[in-house]
Symmetry: C2
Amino acid sequence: MRVVKEAEERRNEILDVAEELFGTKGFDNTSTNDILEKVGIARGTLYYHFKSKEDILDGVIERITGQLMAAASQVVSQEEVPILERLTKAILALDVDTSIGHEIMNQVHKPQNALMHQKMQEQLLSGITPIITRLLEEGIEQGIFHTDYPMEAVEMILLYANTVFDELLEQSPERKERRMEAFVCNVERLLGAEPGILRKAIMEIFEKQA
Amino acid sequence: MRVVKEAEERRNEILDVAEELFGTKGFDNTSTNDILEKVGIARGTLYYHFKSKEDILDGVIERITGQLMAAASQVVSQEEVPILERLTKAILALDVDTSIGHEIMNQVHKPQNALMHQKMQEQLLSGITPIITRLLEEGIEQGIFHTDYPMEAVEMILLYANTVFDELLEQSPERKERRMEAFVCNVERLLGAEPGILRKAIMEIFEKQA
DNA sequence: ACTATAACCGACAGCTAGTCGGTTGCGATA
DNA sequence: TATCGCAACCGACTAGCTGTCGGTTATAGT
């Protein structure tokens, strides 16, 4: 049976299926056949909407990073919220599984998904760094942070957060906590903030939620 | 014509060719046929020595990281050299193309080589972090560094160095210099060293070489 | 009702990684 | 020196993959 749909709708159907399969089986272990069968279309149709398998991956990643960046932007732009709180929330939005992260975030860190991980990291770094850097500069004006290299500090923080936090998942709770403490402390140092001030801000956020 | 060699010799021949091809064309774009033709062996022979294409990649990476780690260890163990100098040299040994790095280091950062990059990073991080952490702890005892989280700080530094420095290659000289300054400054902060002290140490090393 | 075209189809080509049963050189043993 | 066993080697073959292409059909606009 033949069903005709508008290009963008079909495109999104394909991306939905691809995102799920890439997220559960990984990019290399998902064949284009897996995708087109699950969508219920023929081979030619798939390649009518995407020029290659990698092009599909790019589409999936673009959708996700777009959503993540929008979320981060939204957090950062809330000028009535204290800077430290905005900073924390913006960083958390990237790692903790928000409603956006989906399954992908879990699988993205396995060696089989190296390409996905790298592309995602590239997009996120280049897209989110300027957003958070702006926030940081605001904090510098307010005298909360002190650094001559805000952008480079942000890069370092995001890169570390994006790479190491996932290996953390299968660690013991004590190690996890120590890692978090270390991370917070290192962030404070990089940003030139008063020691302990970020830790305090984070705890306040969690108390507020409880 | 049939030539018989000892297993380890053949294995190294294969690794030599694979390293060159992976380094110039990337892992995905190198077929097992490319390798076995260049070595001059049959298909079955290749799979007699390696159980899969990925197994070959692992072999290549293991050889390189092994050499890099040995070089770093050697630097760190020179107890008569000041700590700051050893630290600098140990980190530089990883990025600047030493005689070890070969061609691979240039290609390792392209998106097509994501798997290579990831495996290499994993090996390097897990292998070199403890080596440099030990050095850092020595510096803490001497009162040069101050941090409660030496290992995590080292992780952050190595990760950043390994990821960002290569993108740096195609930047303008001014940007490059600024990046280096920022990096040095951020390292000082993470290690809890006196501001400017690492920068001074680095300049002394370069002057000594000149 | 007609037509242009966007969306769709599926057979096919060309490549790939990995398997397997068979072969050969070589060192050990007697 | 004769022969025996095994490590090293061979290459045809399988199964599966991505991407192509000429042809087909639904639908929107006239």
